[in-house]
């Protein structure tokens, strides 16, 4: 449930780096803790964001959770399929449940994120 090729933020977002871009979503742990996701509010394409900044919200039947971007840059793509099918984040958090693509300002942001092994160790310290 923790893909080895991604990097992870302590707020449970992941980043998949490809060229000068990163695709961002929330982890399996995050979707499982939220329960059934019913609505996702995402930023507009063109928005400039800094690493660690709030970029949206995930609403589940239980609660609301803030989405933090693990990397800084310019939002270049938003997953519009999530508007009608937010539940995809529950079923496929690392695939079809991706949220935004960000043109990276500083590739160094990625190096500050956890590796899969580090994230796994981090999760074991979290109360589930």
């Amino acid at each position: 449930m923790i893909p080895a090729d991604l990097r992870y933020h302590h707020e449970h977002e992941w980043a998949r780096v490809h060229g000068g871009q990163a695709t961002v979503g929330i982890s399996h742990f995050a979707q499982d803790a939220l329960g059934d996701i019913v609505f996702i509010d995402l930023p507009k394409v063109g928005t400039v964001v800094n690493a660690g900044q709030q970029i949206g919200e995930v609403e589940s039947t239980k609660t609301t959770s803030t989405i933090y971007t693990p990397v800084g840059g310019t939002i270049s793509k938003v997953n519009t399929d999530l508007k009608d099918h937010p539940e995809v984040v529950n079923s496929d958090p690392y695939g079809k449940g991706w949220m935004v693509v960000i043109d990276l300002t500083d590739g160094g942001d990625v190096d500050k994120l956890m590796t899969a092994a580090q994230y796994e160790a981090f999760l074991s310290t979290q109360k589930h």
Partner: protein, 366 residues
Amino acid sequence: MKHTPLIDRHRAHGAKLVDFAGWEMPIQYASVVDEYHRVRTKAGLFDVSHMGRIAVSGPGSLAFLQRMTTNDVRKLAVGQAHYSMVCNERGGIKDDIFVYRTAESDYLLCVNASNREKILQWITEHQRAAGDACGIEDRTSDLAQLAVQGPASRDILLAVGADNVAGLKLHHSCESRPAGIPCFVARTGYSGELGYEINVPADKAADLWTQLLKKGEDAGLKPAGLGARDLLRLEMGYLLYGNDIGEDTTPLEAGADWTVAFQKGDFIGRQALQEQAQAGPARRLVAFELLEKAVPRHGFRILDPSSSRPIGEVASGNLSPLLQKGIGLGYVLSSFAPPGTALAIEIRGKILPAAVVKPPFYKRKA
């Protein structure tokens, strides 16, 4: 934490368990939204054994319950039930309950899990003080309660041999034998669907649970958790104690005027409620829907859209799976209560337009 007799079944089904008023209860088995849709289209099986069941019996029970509750208990025929309130002297709601008349002088109260001990203490003190000739017995631990809710629920009860529930009218009850087990079955529920609540001896509850799921399988019956139950009740505008009502809100403010029978004689809270009825409550609980997709939550501010002045607060809110809109209940100044009134809800700094609507949000197909 307290456990119902079905805890092992919940664990075997892989339920997500949470602390609910001191009880470890299933909030969901697989998916809240799937369980919600199953109840709206087929049927769901709920464990609601955490609800307090209190028997009141004896020749003085009618007079006693007339004083302790707001609705008119004289109107109940044997085998009939109604929704009612237990109020404090200020007219504030100590609990919202169901009163079942089970025999000539016997009644069963179904109270909220979170209020069980408080209500037991409250009614016991009043019974002692007044010397009413009635007994009060907490039946919660010896009776489990299963709810079968959804359009297929009648067929499912017939499939387990509870033949005499076939003609049961809404808010009526009878002794029956689902799966051969002697039970008290009522056509009541918290979902807005056709449904039944079954009080079953605690030691037979797991057996009944298994038999219902087995015989109800073809009709689509599956377990459903408290998460689905909350969505179902919110779409009906049913009140949730602790969120929508409490000791500082009255039945009149909550829009439950119909549970207050002023003409029946004295009851606790009557004077305060009568004064409020004459003056008109300053605030009222309304149902509202958001005009843009977003999710209102408990505690969010409600504003007058023309001046952005705060006029109230959200009590309950969620995204309606049926309407795919944010819906909620909230208290507003009475001048904003008529259906159609424009409101605004403040959601994390954003001001979103909303409108008062007449509940329920969902109407069952006839």
